[in-house]
């Protein structure tokens, strides 16, 4: 209900209303003070004066609130502008990195292929002095290849910030 009042009722009141209310009430307050000195209408002055005072206070209060809202809206626009720039920069950075990864992958694979061709070409020369790898060498080599850490990924609980 409070949210409804704030967003739909107070939110749609034009900004000029509060200074107008405060100013108008101040004028009425002043004249009601004047007419209290005129015996024929003094009673009206006494009735209107507190009402005008309260209206003036309400006007000042909401005018201050409207000012804060204006500052808040300006902050919101600035923050949104920064967020838009950040999103553009993030996309540009991502695109550049994606291109870099693809290029390097292509380059590494290409060079590995080149080396493979050289190995094929030099196969006889390479194997001339070592026709067969010792079984232990083969086993040790594979032991080194399989030198991985734990395959288990740590369990991380992410709850996120409370909303």
């Amino acid at each position: 209900m409070y949210s409804l009042i704030v967003h739909y009722a107070l939110g749609n009141i034009p900004d000029w209303l509060w200074p107008a209310l405060a100013g108008g009430a101040a004028v009425i307050y002043f004249f009601s003070g004047v007419i209290t000195h005129i015996p024929q209408v003094a009673i009206y002055g006494k009735l209107v004066k507190p009402v005008a005072f309260i209206a003036m206070m309400v006007g000042i209060f909401f005018y201050g609130g409207a000012g804060v809202v204006a500052v808040y809206k300006a902050d919101l626009i600035e923050a949104q502008h920064k967020a838009d720039i950040a999103a553009t920069e993030a996309k540009a950075a991502n695109d550049a990195l994606a291109v870099s990864i693809a290029n390097n992958k292509h380059l590494i694979e290409g060079r590995a292929y080149g080396v493979k061709q050289i190995i094929i070409k030099d196969k006889d020369k390479i194997n001339a002095d070592c026709a067969k790898i010792n079984h232990d060498a083969w086993e040790d080599y594979n032991r080194a290849v399989k030198n991985t850490g734990s395959k288990q990924t740590p369990s991380v609980t992410v709850t996120g910030a409370p909303k």
């Binding site: 000042i60 209060f61 609130g65 804060v68 950040a86 996309k91 991502n94 994606a98 694979e109 790898i133």
Partner: protein, 91 residues
Amino acid sequence: MKKLIISLLFLSLAGCATRHAPVALKWPDAPPDLMEPSEDLVPLDPNQTQLSDLIDNANTNYSKYYTLKDKYDTWQQWYKSHKQIYDSAAQ
């Protein structure tokens, strides 16, 4: 005087708001290549017993290493650049 004090009290109540505008920065997705699972090194086939086979296998594994190294370096660069972007936007 009393009215003046009351008026000033009213002014002091004239609205308080947090200065942090509620604009959520979207955390960017990483490039798809960086999200691929890493590949294991290829062990030497028991039937391949020649030295050239060993060198060929090493060549394959080295290329896997360098591909992974590049991804690792790129992850660091990705983090640094996005942190910089995020920090500049969140100021």
